[in-house]
Amino acid sequence: MADKLLAVENVSRHYKLPKQALFRPAPVLTAVDQASFDLERGQTLGIVGESGSGKSTLAKMVMAFEPPDTGRILFQGQDINALDAGELRLLRQDFQMVFQDPFGSLDPRRTVAWSIGEPMRAIGRAAPAEIRIRVAEVLEQVGLTAKDGLKFPHEFSGGQRQRIAIARAISTRPALLVADEAVSALDVSVQAQILNLLMDLQADLGLSMLFISHDLAVVASICDKVIVLQKGRILEAGDTGHVLGNPAHEYTRSLVAAARM
């Protein structure tokens, strides 16, 4: 049996919408509907789907920002929603996230080094000097310099800020990196650089990745396996080449067409 890092089992998530009529119950939106999948160590799994298909909701649940309404999420065999707050906080160093908005994922009032050091400070095991060394190390790993740590986020371009976000995410040596539309806000040429960086880091660090994008072209370039999501349901799943080569559903074909591949 392959080494399962992440197992998502029958996970659903419902959102109550604002009440529309006084005497009718508030309508419920099913953002994720009975989704199940596994992620093996060292693998990159892509999740693709149009906007609103539930990709970010899935990411939020994998990151334990929100609990699922049904089902379980097992990380390294542990149900992340069954852990107590302290255990979960400790486990968090092993699964980190890169967000979509390179202008939103760094606190504008904090220096880059401060933000990168935050996960290590949260764990509370490393001395300030160790953290400083590690911050410089990851900055260099993502193609920046230790000196860049003294600057504030607004002094960087979108691509550089995404590098900073990646540096921060790998600072605790996680096993899993969740990237939700991590390159979608970037210019195409910058996208390629960030994708290359992610692939290099994955090879060097043995990271597993859950790579989420509405853009099939991006997913195809980086993922071993892919899941196609529509209205919260997994429509098809399998090896990237296979799914994209012979899409079983019209929806997948339209995504392939939209990506102009």
Partner: protein, 274 residues
């Protein structure tokens, strides 16, 4: 935001505030005369080289009284707004961070207090616990708690949806640490704006309570008390009412304008509508 052209309300407000605070601060170290010093022979004097603004019905130097009154007024307003503002902000942060019943309790309490006119509440408190400046401070602070709780909660709710807050959660930070490290620094601007506006109101309430005899007690100087003492002498010596009245207007207007101006430059959403 265009910082090259500061709005007029900000500039005028800042000038008036600096003037008021400067005078208040100066009064701590120096006034031309002891404001309690009686000099019946020289009562009701007009402006002169010895007494720049003249003297009152007991021959006390008016300028000295006004300056000392400024000191009192600012001390009350600062203490009350900082006290009420800190407690209110903390409650608002708590409500925003923990939600659920914590939020319900904080918000219902603040609803309750909003149903109550502020001045009326201050009068009741002063009536219950006796007239004194410390009680005025407590009353004004109390009024400010729900106001800041609301502003802090509303602003904090917005910050909680920012990606850097999710990033902090992913880092393993708890709600308290996130509130301290990310939420509070990023809601400082609206809190400071609110504080400036509440400061103007605090000056007004202190003056009103002292005017009603519920605040500063003789011989403690206060603009409100000067006004009430001048009331019976309105026809004989209107300047005795005009000076403290003007002082109140300048201080309240100054902080009010400064608060508006700060809001304009820190909240692009509102200033764009202008």
């Amino acid at each position: 935001m265009n910082t090259r052209y500061l709005p007029a309300n900000l500039v005028i407000g800042a000038i008036l505030v600096v003037l008021t605070l400067g005078v208040a601060l100066l009064s701590v170290f120096w006034t031309p005369y002891d404001y309690t010093q009686l000099d019946i022979v020289h009562k009701f004097q007009g402006p002169s080289a010895a007494h720049w603004l003249g003297t009152d019905q007991l021959g006390r130097d008016l300028l000295s009284q006004l300056m000392a009154g400024a000191g009192n007024s600012m001390a009350v307003a600062v203490t009350a707004v900082v006290l009420g503002g800190s407690i209110g902000t903390a409650l608002g942060l708590l409500a925003s961070a923990y939600g659920g019943w914590v939020e319900d309790i904080v918000m219902r309490l603040s609803d309750l207090s909003f149903a109550f006119p502020a001045l009326l509440f201050a009068i009741m408190l002063a009536a219950a616990f006796g007239p004194s400046l410390p009680n005025v401070v407590v009353a004004i602070a109390f009024i400010n708690v729900p106001i800041f709780a609301r502003v802090a909660r509303a602003s904090a709710n917005q910050i909680w949806t920012r990606e850097y807050v999710f990033a902090a959660r992913a880092a393993g930070l708890g709600k308290f640490a996130i509130s301290r490290d990310h939420i509070l620094p990023n809601i400082a601007a609206p809190i400071i704006v609110q504080a400036t506006i509440e400061f103007a109101l605090a000056i007004l309430i202190e003056a009103a309570l002292s005017y009603l005899g519920l605040g500063a007690q003789p011989p403690s100087p206060s603009w409100g008390r000067m006004l009430s003492e001048a009331q019976t002498l309105m026809y004989l010596a209107p300047q005795l009412a005009i000076y403290p009245g003007l002082s109140i207007v300048v201080a309240v207007l100054g902080f009010g304008l400064l608060g508006d101006g700060l809001r304009d430059v820190t909240d692009p959403r509102l200033s764009r509508e202008r």
